[in-house]
């Protein structure tokens, strides 16, 4: 597991550069197991930086609103590094403005799964890695849970536990934890059209159009979101199954070739809508149809801005 001291030292080294505005890292949250994004701008603050299996946030989402000219540092896990590559490819931020600290991550804990197994008191909590298990200490009592049972689903299939891009790496390089086989998507595809609609109708009925999924997404940064345009108004502001469905279809479409499956949208959704089931479908399709992967190589071109003359042409008359 990544040691906090090693991470803090790397951050101090970065802050020695005079033109660094701040470093994006994590610190302890306000209750229980929480961690929170932390903008380190003074040297005295570095000692509060941590990295634990509860560092869930994808810090790259804060880069999308970065307009200043100074440099920034950022701590990224494997999944976050893919979002960063995608943002750099889209020219959101130049590579030389970033000091990237990669952190090898063996999986982060899903709070929903955790809440079913372990209660969360206000204080006195700790969690450490022990081979393929996590050891939770709650008010003195220890409990061991296998990693596979409590990490996010995305972590079980993670192919990039070691970040793909970094200036400094904290922690040892880790071998892939699993293979992305899109089994959930493939299982869902087997349903009939009616059953598929029944499922999604139930899910989109819950949607309250808070747009948290959009705001937390590192690659959703349109200056004027299509959903907020009034002239022409594509999406009415009323909340019903028709508008909700179109919102989700459009967002999934706008993420085609750009979503790197960091899972933040599903984590942020207050109504527990399985957004990754939707986004992963698009990811699987573009991989099969166009042999395209988002956020894996620098300088790759955007999916929907390029074409091959022999692109697949199903049922085009």
């Amino acid at each position: 597991m990544v040691g906090n001291k090693e991470l803090q030292n790397e951050i101090r080294k970065i802050m020695d550069h005079k033109d660094v505005k701040y470093v994006l890292a994590y610190k302890k949250g306000t209750y229980g197991f929480q961690t929170t994004p932390f903008f380190v701008s003074k040297r005295e603050e570095v000692s509060q930086v941590i990295f634990s299996p509860f560092c869930l946030n994808n810090l790259t989402m804060y880069i999308k609103n970065e307009y200043a000219k100074e440099k920034i540092g950022i701590v990224v896990k494997g999944c976050d590094s893919r979002s960063l590559i995608q943002m750099i490819n889209e020219k959101r931020i130049p590579r030389d403005r970033l000091f990237i600290i990669g952190v090898s991550c063996g999986g982060v804990i899903d709070p929903k799964k955790r809440s079913k197994r372990i209660s969360e008191p206000l204080e006195n909590v700790d969690v450490v890695e022990k081979d393929d298990k996590f050891v939770f200490t709650v008010n003195g009592k220890k409990q061991e849970i296998p990693k596979r049972e409590i990490v996010f689903d995305k972590c079980i299939h993670c192919e990039y536990p070691t970040p793909l891009i970094y200036d400094f790496l904290v922690g040892d390089k880790i071998e892939p934890l699993g293979k992305e086989d899109y089994c959930d998507v493939k299982d869902f595809e087997k349903n009939s059209l009616t059953d598929k609609w029944k499922f999604w109708e139930q899910q989109f009925d819950k949607c309250i159009r808070c747009y948290a999924c959009r705001n937390v997404c590192p690659v959703c940064y349109c200056e004027k979101c299509m959903a907020e345009q009034l002239d022409p108004q594509w999406l009415r502001r009323s909340v019903n199954i028709s508008e909700n469905t179109v919102w989700h279809i459009i967002r999934a479409f706008h993420l085609a070739g750009r979503c790197t499956s960091c899972g933040e949208c599903e984590r942020a959704c207050p109504m527990d809508i399985p957004l990754m089931l939707l986004n992963k479908k698009v990811e699987k399709d573009i991989k099969e149809l166009f042999d395209y992967n988002a956020g894996k190589e620098l300088d790759s071109k955007p999916l929907l801005a390029i074409f091959k003359p022999d692109d697949p042409e199903e049922d085009i008359k």
Binding site: T30, G32, F39, A212, N215, S238, D272
Partner: protein, 338 residues
């Protein structure tokens, strides 16, 4: 009074026969207030609903009036709801409805809100196991607060202890034969449970002189530091029982249409965007500061009531752990503006 737990279903059946009944309904891992037609659709084994019951009186999407044009222009206002009853609401949410009342039935009476609220009966359920982020005791409430309720039930084992708070509540209870007088044991048990619940609330905000402390740091950089993390997603406002900002839109399809009212959020930059392009709250810092002030400064000053009922939903659901308890408590440590 008391009622045996095995009589509750029959009680619910009776009120369903002449009221529209809303109760907590389980939806996988979360609970939402939905209309029920049978008592077994309801679950009382829950901490609090994901979306507060304000959604029943102030629906997320509501028609203000309809219009259509064939020969002439016709204008139509929607019909009013029948008698509604909310069963199993928590004391904090009931208190929040009283705060909404001040907004929607104050100087200007919102007829749509009133039509739902006027004939609505609230039967509450004491919290015997408050959540980690509950802090109702810091904002003039408690797990067994009766403010805003007509009847309050407390789970004391195989029965509920029943408190009649208003005459409306009394009427409902008297119509059902299953309610019996309580004895000293029952009352003692109830008081023990309420005390245990109050003691289990670990998080508090210091509320003395809060409004004036906030006034003294209005221009402080403190708000910028908090706002840095904020995504502006609006989850806190949508799940807050007292938040009530709304927008109005006209929707048309051919020759007919309607003016509708929808929930909006002060966390979005568009909320205060003016037609000229000027935005009086241009940065997230302005918007977060406004929200905290609305709850702990403007409403206390103008309406003598906290704008927050301590339900903790915003803390639990915020994706970046912006914690209103910390924000308010840390505000005291901030060096005051010159």
């Amino acid at each position: 009074m008391i009622i045996d737990k095995n009589k509750i279903n029959a009680f619910i059946n009776q009120i369903i026969s002449d009221h529209i009944v809303f109760a907590p309904v389980k939806n996988k891992d979360m609970v939402l207030f939905k209309q029920i037609k049978k008592p077994d659709e309801m679950t009382l084994d829950y901490n609090n609903s994901r979306i507060p019951p304000k959604s029943i009186y102030l629906p997320q999407t509501e028609t203000l009036f309809r219009f259509s044009k064939n020969q002439n222009i016709n204008l139509e206002t929607p019909k009013k709801d029948g008698r509604t009853l909310l069963f199993g609401i928590r004391p904090c949410d009931a208190k929040s409805l009283k705060i909404l009342d001040q907004v929607f039935t104050g100087e200007y009476k919102d007829s749509l809100y009133l039509s739902r609220r006027k004939n609505s009966i609230l039967i509450g359920l004491t919290c015997h196991n408050p959540s980690l982020n509950c802090f109702c005791t810091s904002v003039n409430s408690s797990p067994a607060d009766t403010d805003g309720l007509d009847v309050l039930l407390t789970d004391i084992g195989d029965k509920y202890y029943v408190e009649l708070i208003t005459s409306r509540g009394g009427k409902i209870v008297k119509n059902f034969p299953g309610f019996k007088p309580a004895n000293k044991e029952d009352k003692k048990k109830k008081e023990e449970i309420v005390k245990k619940a109050k003691d289990s609330i670990k998080r508090h905000i210091k509320s003395e002189r809060l409004a004036s402390i906030l006034d003294s740091i209005f221009e402080n950089k403190y708000w910028e530091e908090i706002a840095r993390k904020c995504l502006g997603c609006g989850i806190c406002t949508f799940l807050c029982p007292t938040c009530h900002c709304f927008d109005m839109q006209d929707e048309t399809a051919g020759d007919k249409g309607a003016r509708i009212r929808v929930w909006d959020s002060c966390m979005y930059p568009e909320y205060t965007m003016q037609a000229s392009g000027y935005n009086p709250r241009p940065y997230q810092m302005n918007r977060i500061r406004n929200r905290v002030f609305h709850k702990f400064n403007y409403l206390p000053k103008n309406n003598q009531v906290f704008g927050c009922v301590g339900c903790g939903r915003c803390i639990t659901e915020c994706p970046v752990n912006i914690d209103i308890i910390e924000v308010v408590n840390q505000a005291r440590e901030v060096k005051k503006d010159e």
